[in-house]
Amino acid sequence: METIVRIPAALRPLTGGQDEVKAKGGTIGEILDDLDQRHPGLKDRLVDAKGVRRFINIYLGEEDVRFLKGLATEVKSGDSISIVPAIAGG
């Protein structure tokens, strides 16, 4: 099962400039592992030993995975995942 993951601009250098990439996995954690295989270094930018980094948000559809089961959140076919990092600038 492949899921579409939307990549924010700041992380696109790791995905060859792609704003959407595909990844396989039944949970958010598995998808991040697969993403890291395909785009080395990406997972480290999103999670640390405690889970999703404190200034990163991973949305499954409209819901922040922190309010679900975090990295153990199950992902179904057709779901979409978005990454929203904290940004500063203006």
Partner: protein
Amino acid sequence: MTARIDLAAARVLVVGVGGLGAPIALALGQAGVGTLGLADDDEVDRTNLHRQVLFRDADVGRPKVAAGAEALARRFPQLRVVAHPTRFLVANAVDLARAYDIVVEGSDNFATKFLTADACKLAGRPAVQAAAIGWRGTVLAASPAGAPCYRCIFEDIPREDAPNCAEAGVFGPVVGVVGALAADLALRHLAGESVSGTLITFDARGREPMRQRALRARPDCPLCGARPEIARVDVRRYVADTAAHD
């Protein structure tokens, strides 16, 4: 259909008079807001001019709040502009926020963003917080009660290097869009609409350029959660190396 609300008595503080602050101030002035406070300690640099639309070539080297106040006065004679030639600091943030009905923050650094969230909660003022970098931006609104807030979604200052606009660049039209969205949320709040918890992301180069989500209050949020830890602004919270990364 036209809808008008009386904004003459409204007082709005704009924190950061740069790429975002300029369109925010122009939209609020155009809408008829009575008093605009401008808080910034920076001077106009030539590299600002492509996106900071309040300023002209002749303003290079001048304090942004002075040049911005003049530009707004030329354009909106009825508008009262209060220049605060200072950064939003631990020493003044709560008092400044309390002096206005709402704070619209478009600063270029995380310390000011987290300080704005904390100061507005402690002052009991709503906050609209905007950021833009490269082709992307975010805007979120927090209520006077403070929940949900900026710390519900971004818990702490990023410790590792995050690019800012001086390093990564920000494209002029992007701050125009993101600043307009921030001003829109502020005006909707002033009109009595509940916008708290609105998170808008904008990505000019994304397949889905704009997306709006409902932000959820985090029960363990240190600012607005059930047992808040932040009872006052403390300078140590706004330095990445000493922020609470336990």
